[in-house]
């Protein structure tokens, strides 16, 4: 599904990603772990199409199509979703109106009519219930005055509504207490199927107790330096990242 080949990307002449190779197949969950500043969030943003980053080398393929130069909205239409670490506040636009706009823009790109209002309402109701989101919450301005946990839950709600093929969750666990983490993880697990894939970006192993990855990759200084199964995550939790550095030397 997602194939990243020798990806180099940076910001204002500074290299951040220095040759990433990654292959994520449908039905898989991959976790990218790594210390602060290793390039985890940059990788998430570059896959979603953030234009500030310059891609100097390499290629990103999605379902056998080169998307390296594609606009973020086009990638979204093709089924890529990024759950933001810091979701942006949009005053005056309700969660419901925002998600309606996002869904219908995507449908428009596929030559479809707007989703009928009754269908939309039912879907909103079902997904909100799944994530234990209160109805009142949906009429509030998008992310405005939301707590950290509410923002993250709202991200997963959007994911549930948009039903992406590839969901990238950037530090979705940060700022969540354990109960909220369980609800969010439970939501992600319910959305998981043989046809879609999840890329988890995280600093801690904690999230991986609830969303179990098939593969764990360690990102350091812009490179994937070690890959393994979920056991690698426990090892990292126990020993930190220094031993990998030493192993590399």
């Amino acid at each position: 599904m997602l194939k990243i080949k020798d990806l180099h990307a940076g910001l204002e002449g500074k290299d951040i990603l220095q040759g990433i190779n990654l292959d994520v197949k449908a039905g898989e969950v991959h976790a990218i772990m790594g210390p602060n500043g290793s390039g985890k969030s940059t990788l998430a943003s570059v896959v979603a199409g953030k234009e500030e980053f310059d891609i100097t080398k390499g290629e990103i393929d999605f379902n056998d199509e080169d998307i390296t130069e594609m606009d973020p909205e086009e990638r979204a239409h093709k089924g890529i979703f990024l759950s933001f670490q810091y979701p942006v506040e949009i005053p005056g636009v309700s969660v419901t109106n925002f998600i309606k706009t996002a869904i219908n823009e995507t449908r428009k790109s596929q030559g479809l009519e707007d989703m009928p209002a009754s269908e939309m309402l039912k879907m909103i109701k079902d997904k909100a219930a799944m994530l234990e989101i209160d109805r009142k919450f949906l009429s509030r301005s998008l992310n405005e005055g939301f707590s950290g946990g509410e923002k993250k839950r709202n991200e997963i709600f959007q994911m549930a509504m948009l039903e992406p093929k590839l969901a990238i969750l950037d530090e979705t666990d940060s700022g969540l207490d354990i109960d909220a983490l369980k609800v969010v993880a439970n939501g992600v697990n319910k959305l998981k199927s043989e046809d879609n894939a999840v890329l988890l970006i995280t600093h801690y192993q904690r999230l991986l107790d609830y969303i179990v990855p098939d593969y764990v990759h360690v990102l350091m200084d812009g490179k994937i330096v070690k890959s393994g199964t979920k056991e690698l995550a426990y090892e990292l939790e126990e020993k930190g990242y220094d031993w990998i550095k030493e192993e590399m030397v």
Binding site: G49, D71, E73, R75, F84, V88, G92, T101, E105
Partner: protein, 437 residues
């Protein structure tokens, strides 16, 4: 002959028709003398540094139009907020249209300045209030000298006006160029409440220059909610001089929505005369092309324990120019004042300009005064967030513009007006967002 000379000689002609021995005549004479001395402001005047009237003074304006001025309701209906649920004072080329208006004398007066100036029963009110603010301003003086028509609104004490009052000035374009000087007087009695909507609308692409003066007097505990809709055609210019005098415990709010017109200058002046007064000034300006809008505000605090809130948002596309000049004066006796001023601007294109100048003159020592001014571009992170949800660049920008302007919009208290302005904003931004903004 310069426009100024033309106006001076028009005044002499006007004098023949005027009430000679009345105090009003003296006021007019004094005013024309002041205008003759000072003339039109130029960029040399500090308050006009960023706005030049020069090109506006070139056309050969008709000062008294006597051409046909019929307007059909079906052509102007869209400019009314409501066909039935508002009082309306409609003027066409400066002349009252009884056909389009809905006035009243039932417990409150919503009628004409010409009637108020000429009928003896209004004399006490005219003597008490007319031209009692800002005598020294030359453009205001010019209007005073020629005062003939406009809105006269008098709300008696304890009266809560049940529906909004619309003041609409149409120009037909039957003259190649027309100069209009509406004069409004609004007196809101003790503990009375009123909502007013003012609009200037040209119905053609001929030149229009309007020099409007509105005086508003709020007696103690009065509540005044005033909305200015400036969405005129690109050949119409407006100089709006509004003076608000507040007695104790009053609330006066003015929202200015500037989306259209060639050049608009808003001189919005608040004078607080009693304790616990609240002045609110808010505006959304969205410009494109070569439009020029200048907000020149003054809040004069003379009494203690008062508040003022200013919140102006501006979005400037193409080669448009915005000016914000916000002055707050806190006199020595005006202790415990909370004065807040905020002006945020987004420049959408490289050629757009904003000149922002906050001015604080504080002579009291125990006051809370804050002001903030920002000039920026779109927040790239926010744009990326919206686009990553599948919303196109143009629509994402529109959503951000809407979100940016929202703090001003959310305090509009007339629901139909809010819907109307939402639509104007959506039109102005040029997208359909798939839901009602």
């Amino acid at each position: 002959m310069s426009f100024k000379d033309k106006l001076l000689s028009s005044y002499i002609a006007l004098e023949d028709y005027l009430e000679f021995d009345s105090p009003l005549h003296d006021i007019r004479n004094e005013a024309i003398k002041n205008f003759e001395e000072k003339g039109f402001p130029t960029k040399k005047d500090e308050a006009w540094k960023y706005t030049s009237l020069k090109s506006l003074l070139k056309p050969d304006y008709s000062v008294y139009s006597n051409k046909e001025r019929n307007v059909e309701l079906k052509n102007v209906r869209k400019y009314f907020l409501h066909e039935i649920d508002t009082y309306k004072l409609v003027f066409v080329d400066g002349v009252y249209s009884s056909f389009l208006s809905e006035t009243t004398h039932d417990t409150l007066d919503v009628c004409l300045m010409s009637a108020a100036l000429n009928k003896s029963k209004y004399k006490p009110v005219i003597e008490a209030y007319f031209n009692k603010t800002a005598k020294s301003d030359s453009l205001t003086s010019l209007n005073t000298a020629f005062t003939k028509e406009g809105a006269y609104i008098h709300i008696p004490a304890h009266k809560e006006v049940e529906k909004p009052i619309e003041i609409i000035n149409f120009s037909t374009g039957n003259e190649d160029a027309i100069f209009l000087q509406p004069r409004n007087l609004i007196v809101v009695g003790e503990n009375a409440h009123v909502q007013i909507i003012e609009r200037h609308q040209s119905l053609s692409n001929n030149e229009v220059l309007t020099n409007s003066v509105t005086e508003i007097f709020a007696e103690k505990r009065a509540y005044v909610d005033y909305y200015k809709i400036q969405n005129d055609v690109s050949t119409a210019s407006l100089i709006d001089n509004t003076y608000i005098s507040q007695q104790r415990d009053t609330v006066c709010r003015v929202h200015t929505f500037s989306f259209g017109g060639k050049l608009v200058r808003n001189n919005l002046n608040y004078f607080q005369h009693g304790e616990h007064t609240d002045s609110t000034l808010k505006g959304i300006t969205i410009l494109e092309g070569k439009q020029h809008v200048d907000h020149n505000t003054l809040v004069h605090h003379t009494a203690p324990n008062c508040e003022s809130h200013q919140d102006y948002k501006g979005l400037f596309a193409e080669a448009s120019i915005g000016v914000f000049n916000g002055k707050i004066v806190v006199e020595k006796d005006a202790q415990k004042i909370d004065a807040f001023q905020q002006n945020n601007n987004i420049l959408i294109d490289d050629k757009a300009t904003i000149n922002a100048k906050p001015q604080l003159e504080i002579f009291a020592d125990d006051v809370k005064c804050s002001h903030g001014c920002t000039i920026g571009q779109f927040d790239e992170e926010a744009l990326f967030y919206l686009r990553s949800r599948g919303i196109g660049l143009k629509e994402s920008r529109a959503l951000l513009m809407y979100a940016f302007a929202n703090t001003v919009l959310e305090s509009v208290k007339i629901p139909e007006l809010k819907t109307r302005i939402n639509k104007l904003i959506a039109n102005k931004i040029g997208v359909s967002l798939g839901f009602e903004l």
